[in-house]
Symmetry: C2
Subunit: 209 residues, 2 copies
DNA sequence: AAAATAATGTTGCATTTGCAACATTTTACA
DNA sequence: TGTAAAATGTTGCAAATGCAACATTATTTT
């Protein structure tokens, strides 16, 4: 899996983190980490655990904008966290490394011989996030629950390179991701099964077409 | 507006483009530019005109994944263009500057004194795209046409800093962006008007709440 | 192991939506 | 300036969906 320190030795990693004036902060499960931190331009690296970026509605609804897993990055400049409307919630026990955005282009850092790798990794990680968001947009623009499910399954199947794959969500989370009513989604899954499009066993899905 | 050469003099811009072995290619309106180009890892800069990245369904439906305006960037590494499913279509007479992704971290380029600005600009542009995609996801996750419209208007209003703003789309394009039926959208706009939530005059909208 | 909690499955019903088919208005352009 | 083409507006109706309320099955906790 990609990470910000790919192709950088652990020794250089430490050197880099020191140059970037990084800070490592541990959190418990279910904590809103942005309420603690009031950094200006930061990049957060999930060193352990995972996060969700949640957008809170004026109606009190909350939308999961993004799941941030281990080694992924987030931040107000590289992603979009408006402190008023967004919350960053730990999904489990999580450790975050904070680096100051402005430091990533400090002369010291640029001079190092691992800088190229660092910049490439950063761009790669952002590109991956763009990819993930494009995928979700592709799915969300489908107009029926059926088409959303089939598009999602198509993407999973393509990634796995197989007609058989595992849904990496609970069904509650899946309904959230697709932005549909959970019970209506269950119903549609039933129809897809009885009509012979798919076979479902727990979280394991097989496409029959 | 942001662009890849912000804070870089035009002289240095030319120098940089030469170092990056860039190529400038003009296109007519309505052309699928990816069919012509078969580059490996490239970044395309819209120097003039504008593009749409279109995703083509197995059903023959096409979804506009993204509008790329002047000075914005696209590419298979920084965005997500799978040549099998995606098309990049010019919306008008358009000029694209292609640079080789691998060259942006070549030793020559890194040594220049404008490299910091260049990298920062690149990251900034990608961050803007992430932002745009997050906004669209926020909108698309709303479950009714009404809520999609109101969320979209809220964002426009916030950006403008005013209850009065102009929709930068035709209604056909807006319906595409919201991923709803155009006539159903018109109907909902009518309801919002008669219920006194908004006032619409052409593309000019005023929020009354 | 029992109890509590969370996840999943089911179904009736009202609402929303897409779709189709058409009318009207605006814009492009020959 | 007149005509074609594109954009916008309207409406009936069938289909899809959210919602609510509940049943059943898994999972966690004590």
């Amino acid at each position: 899996m990609e990470n910000l320190f790919e192709n950088i030795s652990s020794k250089n990693r430490e050197k880099l983190l020191k140059m970037l004036k990084s800070q490592s902060i541990p959190y418990r499960k279910g904590v809103n980490i942005l309420s603690n931190v009031n950094r200006d331009n930061f990049i957060g690296i999930v060193d352990e655990g995972s996060l969700q970026i949640v957008f809170n509605d004026y109606n009190g609804n909350s939308i999961i904008i993004e799941d941030i897993e281990k080694n992924q990055i987030f931040g107000n400049l590289i992603s979009s966290i408006n402190s008023d409307e967004c919350e960053v919630i730990t999904k489990e026990k999580t450790k975050i490394i904070y680096i100051d955005y402005d430091n990533i282009t400090s002369p010291d850092v640029i001079k190092t011989d691992f800088y190229i790798a660092f910049v490439k990794n950063l761009i790669k990680l952002m590109a991956t996030q763009l990819n993930n968001k494009n995928e979700r947009i592709e799915i969300l623009t489908k107009r029926t629950i059926r088409d959303k499910l089939l598009e999602y399954f198509r993407i999973l199947s393509k990634k796995k390179g197989s007609k058989i794959f595992t849904i990496p969500f609970s069904f509650i989370e899946l309904a959230n991701y697709l932005s549909v009513d959970r019970s209506a989604m269950t119903r549609e899954l039933k129809y897809l099964k009885t009509e012979g499009f798919i076979k479902v066993d727990g979280k394991r899905v097989r496409l029959l077409y």
